[in-house]
């Protein structure tokens, strides 16, 4: 009998040991992790029940458990230094053409005619003609439905306020060439904040005086206070690196944006608007809400930035506004990163813990108003966390987010999203008008509660928390907890991944001339064959992967070859015609060269060779390896 008791005890301790070995061998699998505690408890209980316990053994086991938890507490909550923010810039960085990003390529037709005409599958012909005819444009996944149209419309309505023509004392009316600095009549006069120059009370309290002195530190506190008053979740301030400015503008289809004309713009103020936890949490990824919540955040942030800029202009300073969907003059994510508010994550975008991780949309104001920028070295352990977490990459319906290690693109070492695949799914998602999956599953995507802040603290400081919360190989704690389940909306089960495809065998013809811009062979999409249906099932259609189910496509929505038909889920008659017009045209190499040489057309993706960039790159900022600090310092000194 006693022998059996001892045997069972040995088995229980062995089970605990095996759980421990499994935990390490599976790279921190959460089930093995939990099993360690359960088996340890059983072994201790069995020991206590069946064998004599001495006072010494009693004391030692008590202290052993206390010691274990003290160690764990120390490892999780200890004030370990936050890992240094990685040096993302490792090579020569070129300015990015706005024509080069996913939306620019898709809308301009560089990804093919079917996706460029995607809006036609969302509505019946009458609506297509109505929307398109009235505005002289094809409908899009944004303009196809009233809610999305209304919420994105807020940003469109404000676009005029970026222009040079004035309305009610403010710049108004869309301009053909948007690379302008509005100069207020007050410019040079330098009016103060208000009559008496009283500071916001909270700023006055912090500084210990009430009347403005216009020091950069005071200006920053005021701008942050006003930004938050306007509704921004947080306010980022950074010194401008001129490589953040787009080299070519999208709205005017490729107009170059010369650095010489914006030398005054030394500071960037960034405002963040939440896309709303409830909407993001409850969005199944194939919904018709997705793009509407994006529009809401774009419109709201645009309003905030336009108001802030109006104030700065009236005070006598230059203020340019950039806002979404596509009205930016500069890339937004580096402002978030180098203002000390975030870091680059696996999505190749900035994760900002104080703005819901990835859940925000931002707008920015570029100005010469003297400000004190945030600490560009401020880290949050985000890149380290993302190295241990692949939830967004797993969730992406078209596998456009990189698993594995970061790679170098345009001199920047980080994970690179396949923007063509991403945009084709988001614009051409036939089961909904966008996606949202990466945002929804990101561990940083939680409401800003004290408990969530504690989690962010652990991820930033603790050397073990990133392994515990986001195991890239096993099932991490975040997976097991299953935040995906919403008590308001239930569980996301069915996510049919379908997207507008190009005709079989499609190959884009370059040079391709659209507006003022010429796309060349260097701009060919690496996802072109996939876009035409080849290997398209590399999307996660019909798979169950790490607990996520991907729904099957109904047979009526597939053609005889099993390809996705370009027809809206709810509108069977609306298949796109086989032949569709492109917004631009294919021209010969000679014609393209003549247009570029004569300055009638422009070109210049960041991956282009120098000879194929029109106008030429800046020798000062786009040659050699310049860190952010070096480039920002040079720009600040530029007169």
């Amino acid at each position: 009998m006693k022998h059996n008791k001892k045997l069972l005890m040995a088995i229980l301790w062995s089970a605990m040991g095996a759980s421990l070995i499994l935990f390490v061998a599976t790279r921190f699998n959460v089930y093995a992790f939990l099993s360690i505690f359960v088996t340890a408890a059983l072994a201790l209980a069995w020991w206590g029940m069946n064998f004599p316990i001495t006072e010494t053994a009693r004391r030692n086991t008590h202290l052993g458990v206390v010691g274990f938890w003290t160690l764990i507490f120390g490892l999780l909550f200890g004030p370990f230094p936050v890992p240094k923010k990685p040096q993302y810039v490792v090579g020569e960085v070129h300015r990015f053409s706005e024509m080069e990003h996913g939306w620019g390529r898709m809308y301009s037709g560089a990804l093919g005619p079917q996706i460029a005409n995607h809006g036609r599958v969302y509505t019946d012909p009458e609506e297509v003609n109505g929307i398109g005819g009235a505005r002289g444009k094809s409908p899009s996944f944004v303009t196809g439905y009233p809610l999305a149209r209304a919420l994105f419309g807020g940003a469109s309505a404000l676009d005029g306020y970026r222009g040079v023509e004035k309305h009610g004392g403010e710049p108004a009316a869309p301009v053909k060439y948007p690379w302008v600095n509005y100069e207020s009549e007050a410019r040079g006069t330098k009016l103060g904040w208000n009559k008496g120059d009283m500071l916001l009370p909270e700023v006055a309290k912090q500084l210990g005086y009430e009347k403005a002195r216009y020091t950069p530190e005071e200006n920053s506190l005021m701008v942050k206070g006003i930004g938050k008053w306007l509704g921004s979740m947080d306010v980022a301030i950074a010194e401008v690196d001129p490589r953040w400015f787009y080299s070519h503008d999208f709205i005017t289809k490729g107009t170059p944006l010369p650095l010489e004309e914006v030398k005054e713009l030394k500071y960037a103020i960034q405002l963040f608007v939440d896309q709303d936890w409830t909407r993001v949490h409850n969005d199944p990824g194939n919904s018709w809400w997705s793009v509407a919540k994006s529009g809401q955040a774009y419109s709201t942030s645009a309003w905030q930035a336009v108001r802030l800029a109006a104030m700065l202009r009236d005070m006598g300073y230059v203020a340019r506004v950039g806002f979404g969907g596509i009205n930016y003059d500069s890339v937004e994510s580096p402002i978030s990163v180098y203002s000390g508010k975030g870091e680059y994550g696996r999505l190749s975008d900035a994760v900002v813990p104080s703005a819901g991780g990835l859940r925000f949309k931002s707008a920015s104001v570029l100005t010469n108003f003297p400000l004190k920028a945030g600490d560009p070295d401020q880290g949050y352990g985000i890149t380290r966390m993302c190295a241990n977490c692949d939830r967004c990459a797993r969730a992406c319906p078209v596998s456009s987010i990189a698993m594995g290690e970061p790679t170098v693109e345009n001199g920047v070492n980080m994970w690179q999203v396949d923007k063509d695949k991403c945009v084709r799914f988001r614009a051409g998602n036939l089961g909904g008008n966008c996606c949202n999956e990466c945002l929804r599953v990101c561990p940083y995507n939680k409401p800003d509660t004290l408990f969530h802040r504690l989690g962010n603290y652990m991820i930033a400081h603790s050397p073990v928390a990133p392994y515990l919360f986001g195991s890239v190989r096993g099932v991490g704690l975040e997976d097991w907890l299953d935040f995906d389940y919403s008590s308001e909306a239930g569980h996301v089960k069915n996510r049919p991944a379908r997207w507008v495809q190009e005709n079989p065998g499609f190959k884009m013809q370059f040079p391709y001339y659209v507006g003022n811009y010429i796309y060349t062979e260097e701009d060919r999409s690496t996802a072109e064959a996939w876009a035409a249906g080849e290997g398209a099932k590399m999307g996660k259609v019909g798979l169950t992967y790490k607990g996520v189910e991907w729904g099957k496509i109904e047979p009526r929505l597939l053609d005889a070859n099993g390809r996705s038909r370009n027809v809206h889920h709810d509108f069977e008659k609306g298949a796109l015609p086989a032949e569709l017009p492109l917004p631009g045209k294919t021209i010969s190499k000679e014609e393209a060269q003549a247009l570029l040489d004569s300055g009638q057309a422009f070109a210049g993706g960041s991956n282009h060779t120098d000879a194929n960039v029109f106008p030429p790159r800046s020798p000062k900022y786009e040659r050699g390896v310049l860190t952010y600090k070096e480039a920002a310092k040079k720009w600040k000194e530029e007169k």
Partner: protein, 75 residues
């Protein structure tokens, strides 16, 4: 009239372990409430379960590790 007399005594190291156990359960309850508040009921219950599982070894020691009548105290 009910005359209730409660006699309670514990060693210093028992107090420490009780503090750890109470802390773990309290943390689990905080996680439960916070996560319920953000409409993640499944995650909320699992959070609580997680902390209860973590508290199991300590609970086993508190409940079952008591010196028996015949135990030899070598301390």
């Amino acid at each position: 009239m009910l005359n209730l007399k409660v006699n309670f005594q514990m060693k210093w190291y028992e107090g420490l372990l009780w503090a750890v156990e109470i802390g773990l359960v309290a943390f689990g309850l905080w996680a439960l409430v916070d996560t319920l508040m953000i409409s993640c009921s499944k995650a909320a219950w699992r959070f609580l379960l997680l902390f209860l599982i973590w508290a199991l070894p300590g609970a086993a020691v508190l409940v079952f590790f008591r010196p028996g009548r015949n135990a030899q105290d070598n301390a």
